[in-house]
Symmetry: none
Subunit: 248 residues, 2 copies
């Protein structure tokens, strides 16, 4: 019988490459849980209508902290389960979009259909990436990469349009913080489709490529979750201050 | 194949030296998590504009508690990963500076550029220390020690200048608490560059030097994080009382 653990990938990195990825994973665990506490403690500092954006930020980094804890533990034991990343993204990517929609200042009539479209596209994007990620065939990897890029571009196009519209409506401070959030998302999200292609470009056996890929995913997750969450919190705090000047 | 665990340093201390470090690490874990709860419970006791200084204190001791828990577990298994200390400092040193800046009472126009300069210097300081720490060559250790001392002195010079200016503006109570925070930082931070040099001065194989070094780092971390956090909390509480006497 095939046991569960024998299905996982064996960690092939050694020496300083192994240790760098090990330390980066541990640093991400610490960062995610630190951000979790920070967001929870700051949720009550923003007006009610934006509070859930901050709560969702906390939930996202909590989910990511859990997954990085499991990834780190596996790595310590010499095993790697790529599935953790996809389970994490399946949960957190829709939530990251929901955070942004809450602080965009849209009417609920406008927000609801936008939420449904973006969440559906996000689930499709992650779902289509997975078969390519686990496949060892280059052509399968390319096909699912191309398919996942369709919802990827669709999401970014909608966000770009909505944020451009919002920055025209809003104060300079809010507009700047919204542009920062979008910029962080763009920067981080560009890492994922590139890191995904590393095994094709450099070969499955390149330890350098695998090291850069794991560190790249980790840095992208830090930018897309805790740092992005700080930008969302900044928008929520600025809006709170602008809408009730006396309260601050 | 080299397994991951064989890459870590093997703990070479034995007998009472091993046991002393073991017990000190465990004491630090308990202290950090105790301080975590205390700071979280006290955050709501200070005015809104200083609250995040206390929340950041909680986050810092939480991150340090996580890293000491991992260091302690490794030590129990006879292994030591110096990377944990650097991952911890990379996250916590910028946060310690941010805490202080929040309670210094600066305008946000003054605070923002100062935050960027100090955080950049802190990241440089830790990043430059690491290559020397993991090197076994004395000359490499000295070079990176000297390089890391540049941002180290830059940070302390800025803090000294800002705190001297603040103590002139502020009440005697706030001034005293700010001087205490700076004094704790100075005292703790002097331990790090000295402990770093122990392997050069006493040789890599001196078990006495390694014992003093690990205990020294631990005591410095206690002074620089929970005890320093108490000084920050004192500043925040005094300011809260002075700015709204009726609220207390």
């Amino acid at each position: 019988m095939t046991t569960g653990s024998s299905l996982m990938n064996t960690v092939t990195l050694t020496g300083n490459e192994y240790l760098l990825v090990y330390n980066v994973f541990s640093l991400v665990v610490a960062s995610m849980f630190a951000a979790f506490v920070y967001f929870l403690m700051n949720a009550s500092q923003v007006a009610k209508q934006y509070r859930n954006a901050v709560v969702v930020s906390a939930v996202v980094v909590g989910i990511a902290g859990y997954h990085y804890f499991r990834i780190f533990s596996g790595w310590s034991d010499g095993q790697f389960n790529e599935g953790y990343r996809y389970a994490d993204w399946l949960l957190t990517v829709p939530l990251l979009l929901i955070e942004l929609l809450i602080v965009l200042g849209l009417s609920s009539e406008k927000r609801r259909p936008l939420t449904i479209r973006l969440v559906t596209a996000a689930v499709l994007m992650i779902g289509l990436g997975y078969p390519g990620e686990i496949s060892t065939s280059d052509s399968t990897k390319w096909i699912f990469w191309a398919l996942a890029m369709i919802p990827f571009i669709y999401i970014l196009a909608i966000l770009y349009k909505e944020i451009t519209a919002a920055t025209k409506r809003e104060s300079a401070g809010v507009a700047q913080a919204l542009r920062l959030a979008l910029g962080l998302l763009l920067l981080a999200w560009l890492v994922y489709p590139i890191a995904y292609l590393f095994p094709i470009i450099f070969g499955e056996d390149s330890s350098m490529a695998e090291t850069v890929r794991q560190v790249g995913y980790s840095v992208a997750d830090l930018l897309a979750k805790p740092v992005y969450g700080l930008a969302i919190l900044a928008v929520a705090k600025l809006r709170t201050r602008e809408e009730a000047p006396s309260a601050n």
